[in-house]
């Protein structure tokens, strides 16, 4: 059966890899990005490559509400991937605008959007799947990106609760915690090879996780071990570390 798949933040490298894998299966893709200009190549690409139906919707987390977006959609999606994210300028305390943007894109807008989708799915009795791309950065705040980390921590906690709430309605909610990803967001950063996944790896892990009905997916299993260790470093030590 053809599914209607909504991808929020469709321009991200992970979202693009994911959209291609879903389109390859013949599903219908609904993409959102911040501008028509950004959507155009994404849609054209899916249509030429896979000859599938693909629709685009302009959605900017900072400008539009979840309701704005939901009103544009031609129906209720069967599968939703929230892949938007904003890393921001880390270790800066003097940029409130950027801080607000980090919190909004990674947390509040993402949460309000998933709320709206969940509500619609329950109302129309769609037994869908919601996937939130969170981050290992949310597992413990570090000085190098605590705003991003805090937003992702909030998002992960929200997804835990949403999973619980969706269960009785047959709606599955999955949390994805990729570690480092080789992508536009991390271009120019020196990333440790064995700990770094490609966007394609992340996308495949998401699809595998959905098939198996996983709650939380770490793309590279080593990350669950690393985060276990990091979570268990005593605070007296942790606060002195350079992470």
């Amino acid at each position: 059966m053809k599914k209607k798949i909504l991808v929020i933040g469709a321009g991200s490298d992970v979202a693009q890899a994911l959209s291609r894998l879903r389109a390859e299966r013949g599903h219908i893709l609904w993409l959102t990005a911040r501008s028509q200009e950004a959507l155009q190549p994404l849609l054209a690409d899916l249509k030429v490559r896979y000859q599938v139906e693909a629709l685009g919707f302009v959605y900017d987390a900072e400008l539009h509400s979840a309701e704005d977006l939901m009103a544009q959609l031609p129906g209720i999606p069967d599968e939703v991937h929230v892949a938007m994210g904003y890393l921001g300028n880390p270790d800066r305390l003097d940029d409130p605008k950027d801080a607000a943007r980090i919190l909004k894109v990674n947390f509040s807008a993402a949460v309000l959007l998933m709320n709206a989708v969940m509500h619609a799915m329950i109302e129309k009795q769609v037994k869908g799947v919601l996937v939130g791309i969170s981050s290992v950065a949310g597992e413990r705040g570090r000085k190098s990106n605590f705003l991003y980390g805090a937003a992702k921590a909030g998002f992960s906690t929200y997804l835990d609760g949403l999973r619980n709430a969706g269960f009785s309605h047959g709606i599955h909610v999955m949390t994805v915690k990729p570690g480092f990803i080789r992508s536009k967001m991390t271009a120019g950063l020196p990333l440790p090879g064995p700990l770094t996944a490609s966007p394609q790896q992340v996308a495949s892990a998401i699809i595998k996780g959905m098939k198996k009905g996983r709650g939380t997916v770490y793309v590279l299993p080593v990350w669950s071990l690393i985060m276990l260790l990091i979570r268990n470093i005593p605070d007296v030590v942790f606060k002195r570390l350079n992470l």
Binding site: A44, D91, A187, G188, L189, P190
Partner: protein, 443 residues
């Protein structure tokens, strides 16, 4: 996860020489400093190197395909590999392809790549309808044979020096099957090789693998390979089960950098001997898939590591028909005299030249030699340059890593004009490469 900052990356192109530290950033442009676009880095030398590099591989979207005319519109960072995966099952093929499918469409345009069909179908430029170019002024210009014509011909084969190619439209050619009807024949010396290439000029694809080590009566012997897109009726029963089969996307990674001495006169000679005699005297006909026909080396991912850490370069020359016989003989004799060996030596025939400012192909013979990097290589190549120039030839910029500026200016007749136009287009030199600096295009 930390700050997106400037981080230097060690980078080289396909020849693994030179290897430099550069600030590599993904598209879009993030700096005003002199920079050059780089896609798959399949040029051999320093064409896609600069202190700042714009990685165009995120421009990897198909934009349109018109199944009536075969006009394909893509972003410049999309690779030929991906294009084939999508287009072959629908009965379309690249109009021109180099010996690797791991090149981007933008790179193919900037290098004006040619293939085994140049004498019949021209180079990649000839099939380009239009492209969008980001110029030094920050504008995106649509260029074609009727719009911004000068910029069009400056950019085709222009080595990325006019700006960043963002998207392009070119015509694919229809195919009935993904197979090639191949005719292979053994040529016992240089005369036979050259006569063969000329006599079989009516075949769309032709290429001669040359044994550059053979001397005496076998001097210039070769295996001549000809190919024509196969018709459905020509396929074997097994092949016709899936006549539009795409190439396999699995390759065998080349495991390690071989020690630099792996390829020497003796191993190359032994290899050539075996390869030549693997082919029986006379000729053979077969129907093969396009993958082994066009891309025999792509099967081994990273085959360039066979040259070891020292790296290698290709020396591709063209000599016009009139003196080709004498010129090629002199080149090959000089090779023997200086005890140099080329692992892969390929001879092809070129058709007419294009309107491009930096056109490499011209009617004649083109010989490709490759050499491991060594101190003794540079004086030897300078000597070869002398022969090439004497016979009215020139060298392919995409493979070049050492040509000197005077030789470039003397052998590329429109070089001076190209430089003046570039200067006017991009007065501050926003787009430059190590190659353009070496060739004196940028001071």
């Amino acid at each position: 996860m930390g700050t997106p900052m400037s981080a230097l990356t060690k980078i080289s192109n396909w020849g693994n020489y030179p290897r430099i530290e550069a600030d590599v950033r993904p598209w879009p442009l993030q700096t005003e400093s002199p920079q050059i676009a780089r896609g798959m880095g399949r040029c051999y030398g320093d064409s896609a190197l600069s202190t700042h590099i714009v990685d165009t591989r995120s421009l990897n979207h198909f934009l349109d395909f018109d199944a009536e005319s075969g006009l394909l519109t893509v972003e410049a960072g999309l690779t030929f590999d991906e294009i084939l995966q999508v287009c072959v099952p629908r009965g379309w093929f690249l109009p021109v392809t180099p010996g690797t499918r791991f090149v981007t469409a933008g790179g193919a345009l900037a290098s004006d790549v040619h293939g085994k069909n140049h004498h019949a179908e021209g180079s990649f430029s000839d099939h380009v309808r239009w492209f969008d170019l980001l110029t030094a002024s920050g504008e995106i210009c649509r260029c074609s044979r009727t719009e911004n014509t000068e910029l069009f011909y400056l950019t085709l084969g222009g080595m990325g020096l006019t700006g960043i190619i963002k998207a392009l439209a070119f015509y694919l050619k229809p195919i009935e099957t993904a197979y090639i009807r191949q005719h292979t024949l053994r040529c016992e010396n240089l005369d036979e090789t050259m006569a063969g290439l000329e006599a079989y000029g009516h075949w769309t694809n032709s290429v001669a693998w040359l044994d550059c080590m053979a001397g005496g009566r076998a001097f210039g012997r070769s295996i001549l390979m000809l190919g024509e897109s196969a018709k459905q009726s020509e396929l074997t029963q097994a092949q016709s089960l899936n006549p539009l089969k795409v190439h396999s996307t699995k390759g065998i990674p080349f495991p390690i950098d071989m020690p630099s001495f792996t390829l020497n006169r003796f191993t190359v000679q032994a290899f050539n001997q075996v390869y030549f005699h693997k082919h029986p005297k006379g000729s053979r006909d077969s129907v093969v898939h396009y993958e082994p026909f066009y891309y025999p080396l792509d099967k081994v991912l990273g085959w360039n590591r066979i040259y070891g850490k020292r790296g290698f370069t290709q020396y591709q020359l063209v000599i016009p028909h009139a003196d080709a016989r004498k010129g090629l003989q002199e080149v090959l004799e000089l090779l023997a005299k200086r005890k140099m060996s080329s692992f892969l030596t390929v001879l092809k025939i070129f058709g007419e030249q294009s309107e491009n400012y930096l056109r490499f192909p011209k009617a004649g013979f083109t010989l490709t030699l490759d050499f491991g990097i060594s101190a003794s290589l540079w004086p030897f190549l300078n000597e070869l340059d002398g022969v090439v120039e004497r016979y009215g030839g020139r060298l392919y910029l995409t493979k070049d890593v050492r040509m000197n500026p005077d030789f470039f200016r003397r052998t590329y007749p429109m070089a001076q004009e190209f430089m003046e136009k570039i200067k006017a287009l991009d007065p501050t030199g926003k787009f430059q490469s190590l190659q353009s600096q070496r060739l004196g295009i940028h001071a």
